[in-house]
Each structure stands twice: as structure tokens, then as C-alpha cells.
Amino acid sequence: MLRWRQWQERIGRHLLQGITLGCVLLAGLMILGLLLKSWPLLQEQNLWSMLVSRDWRPHRGEFGYFPFLAGTLWVTGGAMLLAVPLALLTATYLSEYASHRVCTLFKPLIDLLAGIPSVVYGVWGVLTIVPLVKNEVAPWFGRFTSGYCILSASLVLAVMTLPVIIHVSLEVMQAVPRELRESALSLGATRWQTVKKVVLRKALPGLLAANVLGFARAFGETMAVIMVAGNVARVPGSIFDPAYPLPALIANNYGEMMSVPRYDAALMLAALLLLGVVLGFSVLSRLVLQRLQRRWR
């Protein structure tokens, strides 16, 4: 007869297995659902030509995703360009240079920022960033803009993703054993040499993961972006042009104009694209990570 402890062990394991499997299954079902819904459109039109087409005229059955893809990439790219260096520097400072007191003071503050709902960031963007870009930044470059543009969206997104990246990066860097730092220091490395050549290197896989997380958040962010990006379905030519990122497209239009044929299929395909890019990106980063790990560890 099996003892109770062993039963517990079995039940526990199967339960956990079930839950894990359930999560994976759910994601799979979601993809399948989106695929089924967008299938009619995919049968009628070539996916690739839709991806590169610039014409979004649902009434004529023209679904060119390029403006939205471009808009998403511009906005997310800009946000990451701003957020990644800042976040890494902040995490490095807090983990390697700041005193214990400062670090324990700032960590909860940063987590607080990460928890602010995105509408609030959106409102802040409209009230502060949009006028700032319109009245100060753009004129400084000799440009005119309504302020509802890529730069504003990137700024707001950057501020939103910063705390996420900082939080994870900090955890990762603090997990590097202090003895490893001491090894480098006792060989006569300066603090900065130790950080650059040992801590960051050791933490690199985790830092990469932190940034992928930040990217996914920025890429899929809907609310704040809708409020400041301008939402014009045209391929942007500069950071002062408005953009219409994919999540905004879906959120703005789903449920409206559903009488237009294939319109809902087109929006489902947009969602699928969004999901695909995020998944693709995280798979890619995983591959990069594996390569790096084989070299360093």
C-alpha cells in the first residue's frame, strides 16, 4: 500500500503538470481561434502581399498591414531605444554602486511605477508629453507636429517599460554572487571593470530576458498608445508623424463596422500578427541566449 506521503507526491506532481499543460493549451487554443477566425481572409488574399501593402481600405476589401506594422515598430523601437540604456544604467547603479539604504528605498518605488495602470500613463502623456513635444521638442528641430506622434508614444511607452526592465534587471544582477565580484576585485579590477566584465556578463541572459519582457510590454501596450500616437493609418516618415500601432487598430475598431465583409477576419489577423511577433521575438532571444551561454556561462 502506498503511503499518504507518496500519494501527496503523486497528486502534487500531476496537478502541477496539469496546470502547466493547461496554460500551454490555452495559449494554443487562442492561436488556433485567431487562425480560424482569420482563415477566410487568408484564403482570399496572399498574406505576404497584405503585410507589405500600404492600403487599408476595408470597404474595398483592401487590408494592407504595412502602416500598422511600421507604426508599431517605430513606436516600440523608439521606446526601447530610450528605455533599455536608461534601465540598464539605473539597475547597474542600484545594484553595484548605491548603498544598501538607497537601494531598499528605490526598489519599492520602482515597483510602484510598474503597477500604475496604463490609462494613467496615457492621461499623463496627453497632458504633459504631447504639449511638450508639440511646443518644445518639435520646434527645436524646426518641425511642426500636433504632438500626437511617434515621439510622444515612444516617450510614454519608455516611461512605462522602464520600471519593468529595471525591476527584473536588478533582481538578476543582485543574484550574481558577491564572491564573484570579490574575485575580480581582488585581482585588482576597478569597480567598473568588475561590473563590465564580470557582473554584466554573468547577468547577461537574465538581462536579455528582462529586455524581452519590456519589449513585449511595449509592443502589446494598447491604452496609452491609443491616447497619444495619433492613430493615422499611414506609414510614418519621421518621429514627428502620427502612427497607428497594431494594438490600437484592434482596440479602436473591433466591434464597429462589423458589417464590412472580412473586417473582423482582418482584425483577428492583426491580433495574430501581434502575437506572432512577440512569440517570434522571444524565441529569437532564447536562441541568442543559448548561443551566449554555450560560450560563457
Binding site: 544598501h100 564572491e179 565580484r181 581582488s186 556578463r201
Partner: protein
């Protein structure tokens, strides 16, 4: 530089916040000998070791008073280049912590920091120091594989080689064998015996038998005080203090 002593500590006091962990330590560490710091857990052995190469100050609640000299040099003098101080005192930790890079890069790391770029010179340093720790024959074919793939014992010898590659005067070792199997421990001990002609070694150990086997000179710490120090012979066979006698006979621990 050939004084009889390599490190002089004078009136050394260390506090972690309010906690007074080292009390008025005054001692001289003999050159080209193996010195063992012994004493019960928590008595301040690691703290003393780390006060020598200024690793203590990387923690932020530490306060230190008194002086430490390495040869003629005041270690804590204002304006002194702490990286040069640390370079002269290699540290071997309780467990091996190879840097996240290849075996070769681990050994070349220190020399590179100090400006050696020439590939030949680096190759030479890597080989010589791996030879010194008896690792060369075991790893010569896989110098460019990650260091973490070595066994724990090999990793510890790699860490020793890495420290030797910057040509320190002193090797500070904090219970360097406590994470190792007996065989690997013995190899580290052998290394130490070979190395003591060229380097002064200061090691913390919990194992009295190891201190007996290896040490020429003994420091006995008890609750932050240096109770007694002297040649190993005397400390084990004719200690002057009762406390020392009880400790080396294993009555207290």
C-alpha cells in the same frame, strides 16, 4: 623587499554597524611561510583576512580603525591605489567562483586588467600558472571551454592559478578546502606547500589537522580578539594561554 614580515597589522578594530568584530589586533605575518588563522565560527577570521586586502570596504556598514602595512606600504593610506593593493594579495574563497568565461580567459583576466595584451605573453602566463597548480595537464586540450565545466576541485585550483597570474606577494585563502573532497583538498594543500617559497600564504581554516599539516605560524582568534600567535610548533605543543590549549586540543570549538 625582504623584511622578515610581509603584513603588519596595528591596533586593528573593525565594526559591522554597532557590532565590534575585531578588537585591537596587532600582529605581523611572516614572509614566505604559511600562516593559519584559527578560531571558532564567527570569531572574525574572514573579517581579518578581508581587512588585509581592503575587501571589507566593499560592504557599506563597515568601519575600520588602525593600520595595515604590506611591506613598507600603508594599505589604508589616503590616496593609495586600492586596485594595486588588492593585486598584491590574491584571494581564494571558500568555494570556487570561476569567472563566467573560458579556462584560458579566467587565468588571463588579471594580467589583461593590468595591461598585458601580447598574445604570446598571455599564453605563457596561462600555461605557467596552470602548471603551478597542477592543472595544465588536465585542461591543456580544453583551454577555451567554459570554466564552470571543470570539477569543483579543478575549479578551485583554477581560481588559485587565476590569482597567481597577477603575481601577488601574498595569497589570502578563506577556508579554501572546505567545499572540496579529500583528494582535491590534498592537491590544494600540496600547491600551498610548493608555493610558499615564492609567496606568503595566509589561510583561514576550521580544520585543526590541516593547520597542523600545513602551517608554520598560527593566529588564534577568539571573539574578535587575538588570543595568541606564534610558530605552529609552539602553538600546538606549548601554548601560553589556557584558552589556546583548550582550542587546539578540541575541548572548545
Amino acid at each position: 623587499m625582504t623584511g622578515e614580515h610581509v603584513i603588519h597589522a596595528r591596533d586593528l578594530n573593525v565594526y559591522y554597524g554597532q557590532l565590534h568584530v575585531l578588537k585591537d589586533i596587532t600582529v605581523a605575518i611572516p614572509r614566505s611561510k604559511i600562516t593559519a588563522i584559527i578560531g571558532p565560527s564567527g570569531c572574525g577570521k574572514s573579517t581579518l583576512l578581508r581587512s588585509f586586502n581592503r575587501l571589507l570596504e566593499t560592504m557599506d556598514n563597515v568601519r575600520l580603525a588602525g593600520s595595515v602595512r604590506l611591506g613598507p606600504q600603508d594599505v589604508y593610506a589616503p590616496g593609495v591605489d586600492v586596485t594595486l593593493i588588492r593585486k598584491k594579495m590574491g584571494l581564494l574563497a571558500q568555494r570556487p567562483f570561476p569567472l563566467p568565461m573560458s579556462i584560458y580567459e579566467n587565468v588571463a583576466f588579471g594580467p589583461r586588467l593590468h595591461g598585458i595584451r601580447n598574445r604570446r605573453a598571455l599564453d605563457r602566463l596561462v600555461e605557467d600558472n596552470l602548471q603551478l597548480t597542477g592543472l595544465w595537464s588536465e585542461v591543456r586540450d580544453r583551454l577555451h571551454t567554459p570554466a564552470v565545466e571543470l570539477s569543483i576541485g579543478q575549479q578551485q585550483r583554477l581560481c588559485l592559478a587565476r590569482g597567481l597570474a597577477v603575481e601577488p606577494e601574498v595569497i589570502l585563502a578563506d577556508e579554501p578546502t572546505s567545499a572540496l573532497d579529500p583528494q582535491s583538498s590534498r592537491r590544494i594543500e600540496e600547491c600551498f606547500r610548493h608555493l610558499k617559497d615564492r609567496y606568503s600564504i595566509v589561510m583561514v581554516t576550521h580544520i585543526l589537522r590541516q593547520a597542523r599539516r600545513l602551517a608554520d605560524y598560527i593566529l588564534f582568534l577568539y571573539m574578535g580578539e587575538l588570543v595568541e600567535h606564534g610558530p605552529a610548533e609552539q602553538m600546538f605543543n606549548a601554548p601560553r594561554r589556557e584558552l589556546t590549549r583548550e582550542y587546539v586540543q578540541g575541548v572548545i570549538s
